[in-house]
Amino acid sequence: MTLTCITGGRVVDPDTKRDGIGDVWLENGRIIDAPLNAQRYEHIDATGCVVMAGAIDIHTHVAGANVSAARLLLPERYADIEKPMTEWTGAPFDLFSTGALYAQMGFTLVVEPAVAPTDAVATHAELECIPYVDRATLSVVGNDEILLGMIRDRASNAAIQDYVGWLITTSRGLGAKAINPGGVAALKENVRSFTLDDTIPEYGVSARQISQKLRNALKALGVPHPLHLHTCNLGIPGNIETALKTIDAAEGEPVHLAHLQFYGYGTEGDFGMSSGAAQIAEALAKNKNVTADVGQVMFGPTVTVSSDALLQFTSRNRASPKKFVIRDGDANGGGAVPLVYKSKSKVSALQWAIGLEMFLLVDDPTQIYMTTDHPNGGPFTAYPDLIAQLMDRSVRNAVIDSLPKEAMEVSTLPGISREYTLMDIATMTRSAPAKLLGTMDRGHLKPGAIADIAIYRDSKDRAAMFAKAAWVLKDGDVIVRDGHVLAARYGRTLSLAPEYDAGIKSHIAEVYDRRWGVGPDTFSVPATLLRQTSPFEVVPCRP
């Protein structure tokens, strides 16, 4: 590919601590050192622009059974093409638009974080249809009868490690996620609430034990991304205690807490809910082993999609409109429950404030990541507005002024003066998530990195700036120019191939035969799915 130089832009790259005007050279899809005596090369004039690596969304529900259920449940939301898309979630659910809208904002990698092994084939087939950006998935484990049975029967750590390795490999995940571990299995026995040390009646196993076993297995397998944990009691006032106990339960080992905003709820205040964000921030400062994405709430109607079937089951009566899809899956299951975050609602307003408090009170931007848990807290297309609220106090104060005073009285947000810098944004959305996922050639602009680059026209209007990049390059090719996507191109799905003892398959075979009458390879994701000849790229595990 052509030698290219991006010149004159303000390069913001946390890994090299660059923040100043400079050049970025690339060739054959990679960043390179400035060549000596380059004669012929393409030139992108980035004068007046900010140059960053391509952004990474580590937690966005863009494909899979729960997303399909949401699409199926709400066709009326799409029936009128004349209606602006912003009247609903702000993001359409079709995969082409998903890729295009992410690319326009400068994203080059998105992670679908909840793929049940039995749904992996279909999910990867869907992901193959997302253009412009690379994709990855996390394999769901923690409520399946094989793992729970192994923990109950005191299987060796090595056996559990082999099972987790097999599961990630066959479902082509980039890591593993536990979603309300144990809680979903308990729901199948009519348990309606489940916290960290409750045990599943059938197995006598707790969420704490499940998380510990999974953390150990992932570490032993060399999986770069730590356990991605959606812990118990999501969305319930008072769940700050669960969040703090979950952080303690990690015992200093790496763990990533998903959509932590939804766990930042105390019970003080006139309406029985208050902000626990300060306690969370304090806990993160003391526990550098813990990272989290926020799951920021943005106002408007949305549909929650989650494999936390217990949460979805108990939330179904709050559906708006009054319909829902919930199913008991072969492990987690899950569902879709539509709802509305109203700016006039004290609860919704406080949720919004708690999310921003977490962003602003956690000092270390390598510990906290920008997500809306799309579409659960809001659409991913709200990221530019969110960045503006983080970078400009006046922008968020304008929102605060429009919200119920009772909600702001139990939040510290109005008193927080911090404003994110461009370096903070680049760390939170590029450098840190790349490292967290183990994709070491992404998220930075050092020579050797994949030439995934976003170039934004610098503006005080940060929402406008980050909504439409001036240029986006993927593997060195221009895919966005002046905020518009160019001809569609399709990227790769990143996955792992950890080493494990294949002898574990005999145990899996017994369970699969009893359950479905099929063999252990039945749900394995093949190397080719729809039309792409080789959609997968293996990311190395740690030695």
């Binding site: 199926l72 087939a125 994701v525 039309r531």
Partner: protein, 363 residues
């Protein structure tokens, strides 16, 4: 990096189909059996040629869209159900569906904690009641199923009814039985229940779930529907029936219904796509022209033009969603033969390379 597509190796002539599609003002693509790649290719063809798209049994999804669903998976039902409630005309499945029998009658697959044998009940008109002697008939007399479901819902919530005391006692006994389930599964065939019966059944299951666990398990998932739904939802955000106007899709359950479009005389070309040897149902015949893309050796009755395609999972590798698993799996045939007919996807992509249609004048 562009999309590195697998090369087309097409041994069939698609020119007649291309000509018909190009001449058509309002083509309708009706899909029956299909694999996931074929479904994606069908959406692509519909988009480039501004077609309407529908599934042959689309009505099955209407109650789900209207009210939602509180369901379970076949494997989970087999593992956990301590009570199975057979609703309406299910005897066909009990007698012929080996997977359903294995999952729901075979005690061997029950979870270790389920010590008590599974109990089976049935709510159906006597003529529809299954002959399986393990199933206990719930007495409903001459009452229609809809009334029975309504009565059960009322008594689950302890609401008064106008029925006579002795009948109410019978109904209350049934309700008590249903409430005693630890994991109840209501099994039904959507094609044999009315819209109202299905929505009331969903309501009953939701009502029962306020105290115990009850879920639904549909038995008669139409062939190809899951595969098509998966891809239309992913690629357009919409469920069928839908129409492509320009490059955007629109959904309207009535306006774009294939059956209605044909009956109203709006469609001048039907493309019947089925990677099986199912006959074209009479309700989909009647358009001026019909293209059949099927696994038949020769043109099926009613087709003006026929293209033969292979059977997915038999003639070529494919991703399918078998009803007994309710999730997609990749199936590789034990033997591959280069002489086999092309895949639906290959044929549809080949047509799409050449096909455009006259713009639709009026919907």
């Amino acid at each position: 990096m562009g999309q590195a597509s697998r090369p087309l190796n097409l041994s069939v002539d698609t020119s007649a189909a291309v000509a018909l599609i190009t001449e058509s003002c309002n083509p309708t693509l009706i899909i029956d059996a299909i694999d996931l790649a074929g479904a994606a290719a069908a959406v692509n063809l519909a988009k480039v040629a501004s077609m309407r798209v529908d599934h042959a049994a689309q009505d099955h999804l209407a109650p789900l869209q209207e009210l939602g669903f509180l369901g379970t998976m076949p494997g989970e039902a087999g593992l956990r159900a301590d009570m199975v409630l057979w609703i309406g005309a299910t005897s066909h499945f009990i007698e012929t569906d080996e997977a359903a029998r294995r999952l729901l009658f075979d005690q061997d697959n029950l979870s270790e904690s389920k010590k008590t044998p599974r109990r089976h009940f049935c709510i159906a008109a006597p003529a529809q009641s299954p002959s399986e002697n393990r199933i206990k008939q719930i007495p409903i007399g001459d009452r229609p199923l809809l009334d029975t479901l309504g009565l059960l819902r009322a008594r689950v919530k302890a609401h008064p009814t106008s029925i006579e005391t002795s009948t109410q006692d019978d109904i209350d006994a049934v309700v008590a039985e249903l409430k005693s389930a630890k994991y109840g599964v209501a099994v039904f065939a959507a094609g044999h229940l009315s819209f109202l019966e299905q929505t009331n059944l969903m309501g009953l299951i939701d009502d029962l779930s306020s105290e115990t666990r009850w879920t639904l398990l549909p038995l008669d998932q139409p062939v190809g529907q899951a595969e098509l739904a998966r891809m239309t939802l992913a690629l357009t955000g919409l469920i069928t029936p839908l129409a492509f106007l320009g490059d955007r899709a629109r959904h309207d359950a009535y306006l774009y219904s294939a059956e209605q479009s044909i009956a109203r005389g709006e469609t001048d070309l039907v493309i019947w796509l089925s990677s099986s040897t199912t006959a074209i149902p009479p309700r989909f015949l009647g358009a001026p022209n019909t293209i059949a893309i099927t696994a038949h050796d020769t043109a099926p009755s009613g087709a003006d033009t026929h293209i033969r395609i292979g059977i997915p999972g038999v003639d070529h590798p494919a991703i399918l969603e078998p009803a007994e698993l309710a999730c997609a799996v990749a199936i590789t045939p034990s033997q591959t033969n280069s002489a086999h007919p092309p895949t639906a996807a290959d044929v549809l992509y080949a047509i799409a390379e050449h096909a455009t249609t006259q713009p639709e004048v009026a919907a």
